[in-house]
């Protein structure tokens, strides 16, 4: 069990999180909130990267200020997209395993398994600097799971992943969850995590505003379509194609005519059909990401209904 007891964190006079009381059990728990809401602060507190101003935290009975015990059981894939200079993917994983105390052969073995799990074996000996954003995300994920932790904390793990990699990573999370791990992940996109989460905790301005099983939240989400922005080589064609999908309620070209906004009531269904369309029409996708505005609307809705 991961327990937060009346935890507050202030950065000087700025509030990080306030009076957090939480008990997290096995399965997938998602922390959802807009940027700056306090998700990363909660995760960093759990890992001892930050120290609480007040309150206490324990992870499987271990205090976060005991790294030598905690990180035998916990893996953390932080949000920072940075790496030691000039390191290769393989060395990145292996060197930290050796630092953890594993022998060379154990570290090599665990590194290879972790690379296989995130499908990065072929690129393992390239420098991380040459990786795409999605590959960097996956190598960080591999590093955090390499020692087979019991608790896995992932800060915005789907950021920067293309739809295919996103589906693969979600499948991996579900595998890990089925193995009985504690999986805690954060996202600022509720749609992104609701399908895979057992529990969703909504955070706003450093406070928990909603906490519970995902079904209730999901029902409310149906009334608030997710807006996605896609930049590609033939946005008009894509707009025509996606508009035929049941889940899409709006497809609107961006004013520069290089991209399009799509509003969908079922993000997973949309991504699945979208992948097929891209392959059939051989579209070149430059970027795809959900637009935050909808989340704010959901928050307003939830804060209005569940807050005070």
């Amino acid at each position: 069990m991961i327990v937060f007891e009346n935890v507050s964190k202030f950065y000087g006079e700025i509030l990080g999180v306030n009076k957090i009381n939480l008990s997290i059990s096995r399965g997938i728990t998602s922390l959802v909130g807009p940027n700056g809401s306090g998700k990363t602060t909660i995760m960093n507190l759990m890992c001892g990267l930050l120290q609480p101003t007040q309150g206490s935290i324990s992870v499987l009975g271990i205090r976060p200020n005991q790294p030598e015990k905690l990180f035998r059981k916990l893996g953390y894939c932080a949000q920072f997209d940075s790496f030691p200079r000039g390191i290769t993917g393989r060395n990145f994983i292996q060197s930290y395993l050796e630092i953890s105390g594993y022998s060379l052969s154990e570290a090599t073995n665990l590194t290879n398994k972790a690379l296989e799990r995130v499908n990065l074996v072929e690129a393992a000996d390239r420098k991380v600097d040459s990786y795409s954003k999605g590959m960097r995300q996956r190598i960080r994920l591999a590093q955090s799971i390499a020692h087979n932790p019991e608790v896995l904390i992932l800060d915005e793990p789907l950021n920067g992943l293309d739809p295919m990699a996103r589906a693969e990573v979600i499948a991996l999370f579900q595998q890990l969850s089925n193995q009985g791990l504690y999986l805690i992940l954060s996202s600022h996109i509720l749609h992104e995590v609701d399908m895979m989460s057992d529990r969703v905790i909504l955070i706003h301005n450093g406070y928990i505003v909603a906490d519970g099983a995902v079904e209730g939240v999901r029902n409310e989400m149906q009334e608030h379509p997710l807006q996605i922005f896609i930049r590609c080589d033939r946005p008009s064609l894509l707009a025509a194609k996606v508009f035929q999908q049941d889940d899409v309620v709006e497809a609107r070209l961006h004013k520069d005519r290089q991209g399009l906004f799509v509003r969908t009531v079922d993000a997973n269904k949309f991504y699945s059909s979208f992948n097929k369309t891209v392959l059939e029409e051989k579209l070149k996708i430059e970027s795809i990401y959900p637009v935050d505005d909808d989340l704010s609307a959901v928050y307003q809705y939830l804060i209005g209904s569940e807050g005070s």
């Binding site: 990267l49 050796e98 105390g101 799990r117 990573v169 991996l172």
Partner: protein, 288 residues
Amino acid sequence: MSSKVEVYQTQEVKENLPLALWWRQTFAIFRTEAKKNIFNRRVFLLYWLALCPAMLLSLFCFLPVPEKSLSNVNFFNIVFAQVYEALTLRITIFFGCSWLFINLFRGELVDKSLHYYFLTPVRREIIVLGKYLAGLLTSMFLFVSGTAISLFMIYIPRGYKAGIQHFFDGPGLNNALAYLGISALACVGYGAVCLLLGTTFRNPTIPTVFFFGWEQINFLLPPILKKLSVIYYLQSLTPIRLPVGPYAIIAEPASAWIAIPGMFFLTLLVLFLACLQVRKLEINYGND
């Protein structure tokens, strides 16, 4: 992504003695950091810095030196002692160690990669120790070698008899070993203080300048305060005493039996403080 589901158990590192584990972790950190330090492209500037005194002394190979001076070993001893104290010790080693040791932690905070260390099952004291030892290896490699090359440059290239005799039949070899030892000790002391500065201050430039000033005005300080500096112990060990100037407050130099353990005691104290700082250190890159 691999589709097969494998059941992994959380694997405990089989270890009975934590000392053995700590040693292995320290060595792994040391190896990683030493590689980073020695082969880092930015360290080439330090290579140049370490060679500055040798380059200056190499001028003796080309500049005309009076015939009288060539046979006078004391002349070369004094020149070397002056260059060593004024340039090697106070500038080259000081700034070299500052750059190297401050960046052990501060550099990783700037690069946003320190959290990877903090997310391993390693006590933070071990991280400090491993990084410090790696910094020590690099600085000793650079500055002890630099001192050796400087000694070579002043005594050997001209191959004059007096120099050779001084080296092999006189006190030259002992003096040279003393200078090499002082350079190593300077890395130990300056390294520890700079590591502490790098872990304590968000912008260590001002404290480093203050520390530099403190070391420079050491000759003006009362004896009790002199003992709170690195240079006091180092100067006490130099084989050739140089005049300290008319305004200096003279203090009895520490004997080697006090200077060397004193230096190590100071270093241990400073490293202990650095460990306390690192235990409290939070990863909050936005503010660094």
